[in-house]
């Protein structure tokens, strides 16, 4: 049952993503992506990662994508402002490139002897994850926190309005 669900979710996710990347309107794209991310979150859950799944929804779908939407709105990127996304002249070689990459990647992935292994049932309780996060990986968390701090600074430095007369 879980297995079937996993595959359904997987293909849903891929479909949503495919729709996302072919949209010309960024708002549509983001919405499709959010759908894909939800499916992914459920896959995480099925793979025994409830906390990651929850955060996927909260952080990715909830925060990051909303941030994207926010920026699109803020800059007022109406669909006509968006350059014609994929133009058909570029499709040919790109489709070839992408599909070759896709085929090669999948071939490589299936070529590995481990590809046939099954994932045993696994469930990682949030508290175990939390413990690992704040003991073994405490230093990593610190680094990430600093990174977020400097990202804020950076966003502030770059995002400030330009002095008068300097925008073109």
């Amino acid at each position: 049952m879980a297995t079937v669900l996993f595959y359904i979710l997987g293909f849903t996710m891929l479909a949503a993503t495919l729709l996302c990347i072919t949209r010309r309107n960024p708002v549509h794209a983001v919405i499709y992506l959010v759908a894909g991310l939800f499916a992914l979150a459920l896959m995480f859950y099925l793979l025994g990662a409830p906390l990651v799944a929850a955060w996927q929804v909260i952080v990715y779908a909830g925060a990051i994508m909303v941030l994207f939407l926010f920026i699109i709105m803020m800059l007022g990127l109406a669909p006509q402002d968006v350059p014609e996304g994929p133009s058909w002249q570029r499709w040919g070689p790109l489709a070839l490139l992408s599909s070759s990459i896709m085929i090669c990647t999948l071939l490589l992935i299936f070529k590995d002897p481990m590809a046939g292994q099954q994932i045993d049932d696994f469930y990682l309780a949030p508290q175990v994850l939390g413990e690992a996060l704040f003991s073994r990986y405490a230093l990593a968390v610190e680094i990430v926190s600093f990174q977020l701090l400097f990202a804020t600074i950076g966003a502030y430095m770059l995002g400030r309005p330009l002095p008068k007369g300097e925008d073109q």
Binding site: I21, L46, L47, L51, Q56, F68, I119, F122, V144, G154
Partner: protein, 100 residues
């Protein structure tokens, strides 16, 4: 029982789709979205591998990856705003004053 290979295949497909998005679009925001998709693919591998190896590390990586993505997106979007203000365009190819 989920096949490890299949999980990775989903992840790989997601990654390649993200890469395709990056290649396909000329608009900076869409390129960033493509990168997010690629990173999601990576997360899926981590989580799947974590389950396969019955370890916590993969999930930790996935979590921290998410955080880092957030930081990066913050800066990237600030840059987008900055560029928009400067040039009123988000087409990546418009930024080609330096070349050769």
């Amino acid at each position: 029982m989920i096949s490890f290979g299949h999980a990775l295949a989903f992840a790989g497909a997601l990654f390649v789709l993200g890469l395709t998005c990056v290649l396909l679009h000329r608009q900076i925001l869409m390129i960033l979205i493509g990168v997010e998709i690629m990173l999601n693919g990576a997360s899926l591998v981590f989580v799947a591998a974590s389950a396969y190896w019955q370890q916590v590390d993969g999930q930790v990586f996935a979590l921290l990856l998410m955080a880092i993505t957030a930081a990066e997106v913050a800066v990237a979007l600030a840059m987008v705003v900055y560029l928009w203000r400067r040039k009123r365009t988000l087409v990546a190819d418009e930024f080609n004053r330096m070349r050769g």
